[in-house]
Amino acid sequence: MVVEYSREEELERLVHELKTVKTSDWEFHDKDNSVYSTGKGLNKKVVEEISEIKKEPDWMRRLRLKALEIFESKPVPTWGPDLSGIDWENTSYYNRPDERKTNNWDEVPDQIKDTFTKLGIPEMEQKYLAGSVAQYDSEGVYHNLKKVWEDKGVVFMDLDSAVQKYPDLVKDYYCRAVPASDNKFAALNGAVWSGGSFLYVPKGVQIDMPLQTYFRMNGESTGQFEHTIVVADEGSKVHYIEGCTAPRYEKNSLHSAIVEIYVKKNAKARYTSVQNWSKSVYNMPTKRSWVDENANMEWVGGSLGSKVTMLYPSSYLRGPRATASNLNISLAGPGTVKDTGAKAIHLAPYTQSKIVAKSISIEDGKAIYRGLLRINKGAIDSKSRVQCDALLINDESASLTFPHDEIYDPTATFSHEASVGRIGTEELTYLRSRGLTEDEASSMIVLGFLDDVMREIPMEFAVEMNRLIKLEMNKFGAVG
């Protein structure tokens, strides 16, 4: 009971705090800070230019050009949400804010530093993190790792720097889990990737504080194409976090990232991402993990904002007793399509996966669960559980579920549970007749719906999610 009180008090404090925060706190944008851009559109020359600017080794340049060929050969996928609003011709694929990269906030250009300060990043780093990377448009502008971890051989920096400093290590993992041929957006990333993080945790090193990368997309009609690689070597433990925001523009922007996570034997990795894109962003990342023997992978995701999001973090359970869990919260506000889910591929015996997906649709926001569960022949005694819960706020909103199961081993056990709840005028009026405002009533309903998931994620990030959800709810004003 005591624990519960303090949690509620924490939330209460938060509610109070929220009343003073406005959405403009992150929807602001700076003037265009890029000192260099490849201009609009994409072709071989642009790709070569990016590689040139980065002074990349030849193997990377060749990989980029190969990816461009694949990108050009693949059609835009039509099996999901409408992607016709992506303006391929008028997007700038590379925008560099400044020449320098630094490990000292004081050396970050003022305006960019102010942006990150407004978003609370340096403060967070000091309080909760073992290290952090900050990316502004296409390039990392800051990276720092606490010395104690550096001394233990941990590598944490933007991927561009890692290509220069640790080419062999990068080569071992780059595009192994997510090859450019995987899908059109992965191919695009392969061609024009810039930034993203490289995190390597050596054998047996267990990092008790999380490491974070924060992505900020500033320019209008730009694309952000970071590529992140996390390697948890044998017996290690790591928690990596990503946060993302972008200002709101009239013209659409594109975010197409790749995240590859390698969890070696007996290692544990957790990847938490809180994405809060504004309503002009197409968010199309490809995220995948390879989970080896007796290793554990946890995906925790909160997806807010954006125009369209297509996101299905995948776990390939490659060794015996590998386990993966996936907790995902999607909030589809008015005008947003969230096509999200998870994939679990069981390739070895005694593997287990758990997928919990919660979605909230508001007004004409559309939340779709799309998942894949595959248990291969020979993956004996494997188990999987999938749970999808949808909450519809408003009498007209809708949610859809497309689970897809391929079970090839007779010893496998799996279950699907799904629920849909609807909150309409009656429920909101009832709470309001007791003194809650419409925003408070709908926030309370949403947070209540998410409560079981919130309890599974670390307190400070649950608080951050709570904060963003309340802001998001407040933004909608007259809900219901």
């Binding site: 519960e4 009180y5 509620e8 008090e9 939330l11 209460e12 509610v15 909450l391 709840g421 909150i423 005028t425 009656e426 429920e427 009026t429 009832y430 709470l431 309001r432 007749s433 007791r434 003194g435 809650l436 405002t437 419409e438 408070e440 309370m444 309903i445 947070l447 209540g448 719906f449 409560d451």
Partner: protein, 246 residues
């Protein structure tokens, strides 16, 4: 003294005129009963008073201490001191009763906030008084509650939120005889010269437990008769036909 003044009130839902002409005045320290046959518009009056967004006021006014409530949001009316114990309380999935009541209390009484521990202690005591156990604190509002439990929780909310004008819509339905006695006891305890009650009921049953000083009869959206408790006694004997005929 607090005064609720309803004057020539008319209201519709989906274009259908339900209330046509309702007037009455209540003061703190008074218990009023609003009686009427089925379909007279009794529950509608409750919803219109608290500002349910589905209802449109087409004429008249609702004044609390001289301040017009028509056009005000439900939460503003709650802050002004109105409280409706619903005939059919709504279940709200995922919202914990304790957290909800605490948030509501803080909204309604910003100047006399209670420490969280004190608030929950009082909540436990009041749960006990209405015959419910502590586990209700952490359950979702009305979700999976029986009809009788929901009614007890309505009274519990009144006790916790401390409104000035309480509208009880068919509070006795769903309650067995012992539960009704218990609930009526708490209602009487809450009553004071600072609080006004409007008891909406079809039958006289509840009025045996809580005797009203004023009775208003609503028929077809209009208040057609007013007087003392003797009217309610005659209704028990003779039904509503003599009023319709009058």
């Amino acid at each position: 003294m607090t005064t609720l003044e309803v004057k020539n009130l008319a209201a519709s839902i989906n274009g259908k005129q339900i209330l046509k002409d309702v007037s009455f005045t209540m003061h703190g320290g008074e218990i009023h009963a609003l009686m009427g046959p089925n379909g007279a518009g009794k529950s509608t009056l409750g919803y219109v008073l608290i500002g349910h967004p589905d209802y449109v006021v087409t004429n008249g006014s609702i004044k609390l201490n001289g301040v017009e409530l028509v056009g005000k949001l439900p939460e503003e009316r709650a802050k002004a001191g109105l409280f409706l114990a619903y005939q059919t309380p709504v279940a709200v999935q995922g919202v914990k009763l304790s957290a909800f009541l605490r948030m509501a209390y803080n909204q309604l009484h910003p100047d006399s906030k209670m420490k969280i521990q004190d608030f929950y202690d009082e909540l436990k005591r009041n749960l006990n008084k209405v015959g419910l156990d502590e586990t209700f604190m952490s359950r979702s509002v009305n979700e999976g509650f029986s009809g009788g439990e929901r009614k007890r929780v309505e009274i519990l909310q009144m006790m916790m939120l401390k409104p000035k004008f309480v509208i009880l819509d068919e509070i006795d339905s769903g309650l067995d005889i012992d539960a009704l006695k218990m609930v009526a006891e708490e209602i009487k305890k809450y009553f004071s010269d600072q609080v006004g009650f409007l008891i909406i009921t079809h039958y006289q049953r509840i009025l045996k437990n809580i005797e009203p000083g004023f009775v208003h009869i609503l028929v077809d959206g209009k208040v057609v008769m007013e007087g003392g408790n003797d009217i309610s006694l005659r209704i028990e004997e003779d039904g509503y036909d003599w009023i319709r005929g009058a």
